[in-house]
Amino acid sequence: MFLDQLINGITLGGIYAIVALGYTLVFGVLDIINMAHGEIFMFGAFAGMLIVSKAGAPLPVAFLGAIAVTAAMGLLLERFALRPLRGRPGASHLASLISTIGVSILLENVAHKLFGAGNHLFETPFAEISFTVGPVTIYLVQLLILLISLLLMAGLALWLSRTRAGKALRATAENLETAGLLGVDTNRMITATVVIASAMGGVAGVLVGMAFNYINNQIGLSMGLKGLAIIIFGGMGSVYGAMAGGLILGLSETFVVAYGSSGYRDAIAFVAIIVILLVKPRGLFGQAPAEARR
């Protein structure tokens, strides 16, 4: 029982972490919360659903399709909702934040028009396959979710710490002007970041479909709020904070439902935020603001 719940919790936590990473990457370079990220994630889920359930294509195709759709959405978001406001004298960060809120409302309505308000079945062909190891039962789907989210997290961490482009992204996140002086095309870097973050949202969308077997046009909002909670909890802009925060939230939700009451499930994220902010105001892995941030 305990081990089962542990696996459930880690699986859920992995998904949360991927969603939160999308927020944290964008926050790192732009200093704004991308309020449209939850909706982009949702479109990833719908894209995956259409490919798997309606077209009957295999799961890898769903991932690729979801990535393509959400990456394109990220590109458009940056190009038309964020870039025009950037570097304008007098345009504060608030302007970009509100711009992403506008996009999120737009996307929510588009989703409602296209897909309605009801639940859509997300069929995975091997949903029933499971293994029993001693007292523990693991579903293949869980294993896949776990594997994919861990690979994605490890890949991102390696990319950021080892590669030229990853380092350029970190430099851009720390100080836009300095990165530019060192030769980084910061506009391109920002675009790339929003695209990568959105594509991660797309992957998370498919993972949610696999985990819950159904999706609807509310998951953007609910997952979005949890992602937000996690980055506040983990520390704004911190990649490791998003990973740790996601896992912690996934585990605590699962255990509260298992040993307490499911009614409290959605309250946990917010109780955790209040507690952590009282103890560590910058969040678990929060960094002091870099000097001379633009």
Binding site: R170, E177, L181, V184, E291
Partner: protein, 235 residues
């Protein structure tokens, strides 16, 4: 090598530079001095492409670079060590140096240069794995200069490299400036250590409220009564 002609840079509607023209011939160290708020940093940022001038032109090696973004200007061989150093504090010393070589295509030579820079600045070698933000002020200045050198610049722009440093470290920095110049890099130096800046440079521009108030060969200006009174604290 660098020619600035009639440059005017504004912050909003407030002019910070008015009709600035300067020349930096290849191989030289040229100094810019002036009181706080005179516009020295604004001029350096305008040359490096961080700020766009409202009018006037900046040319480097005979080509106009006015208004190009900074990441394109550094590719042409102009590196700015900004005022306040701008170390990437969440990246290690080594990563800061790697970022200095970001524009370079010759990865192998860049690695050799990394070794050379580490030999020249042993502190940086010792602290290669430490976060940039954990260095002392003097060490950060060394890192900022070393990082700029990693781009193998033809022209190095130094904005108050000795600001806030102890006298011994200041002497060290001026020795490094001479060395870099002797190795073939042209330098445009903004300094408040007027005397030393004029000693290391061949020509000096004096900036006052956004205008060039005075300029001339540094050894001659050193004797100028106005300079003595305002900048060298001599009657």
């Amino acid at each position: 090598m660098l020619e600035v002609r009639g440059v005017e840079t504004y912050y909003g509607n407030i002019p910070a530079l008015r009709e600035i023209s300067i020349d930096v011939p290849g191989g030289n160290v040229i100094a810019i001095i002036g009181a706080n708020g005179a516009g020295k940093t604004t001029l350096m940022k305008t040359i490096a492409g961080v700020l766009r001038p409202r009018s006037g032109t900046v040319s480097f090696l005979g080509e106009e670079i006015t208004g190009l973004p900074s990441h394109k200007i550094v590719r042409r061989g102009v590196a700015l060590v900004p005022e306040g150093r701008a170390i990437l504090s969440r990246m290690t010393v080594r990563e800061n140096l790697e970022m200095g070589a970001f524009t370079r295509r010759d990865a192998k030579k860049a690695l050799l240069d990394m070794d050379r820079v580490m030999e020249r600045f042993p502190v940086l070698k010792e602290r290669a794995g430490q976060l940039g933000g954990s260095l002392s002020g003097g060490e950060q200045q060394m890192l900022a200069i070393a990082r700029a050198l990693m781009s193998a610049p033809k022209l190095l722009l130094l904005d108050e490299p000795t600001l806030g440093l102890a006298p011994l470290v200041v002497a060290d920095i001026f020795a490094i400036i001479r060395e870099i110049n002797a190795a073939g890099t042209t330098i445009l130096l903004v300094e408040q250590n007027v005397k030393q800046a004029m000693k290391v440079s061949s020509y000096t521009y004096v900036l006052e409220t956004g205008k060039i108030a005075l300029s001339g060969p540094s050894n001659e200006l050193l004797q100028e009564p106005r300079i003595k009174a305002s900048y060298l604290g001599q009657a």
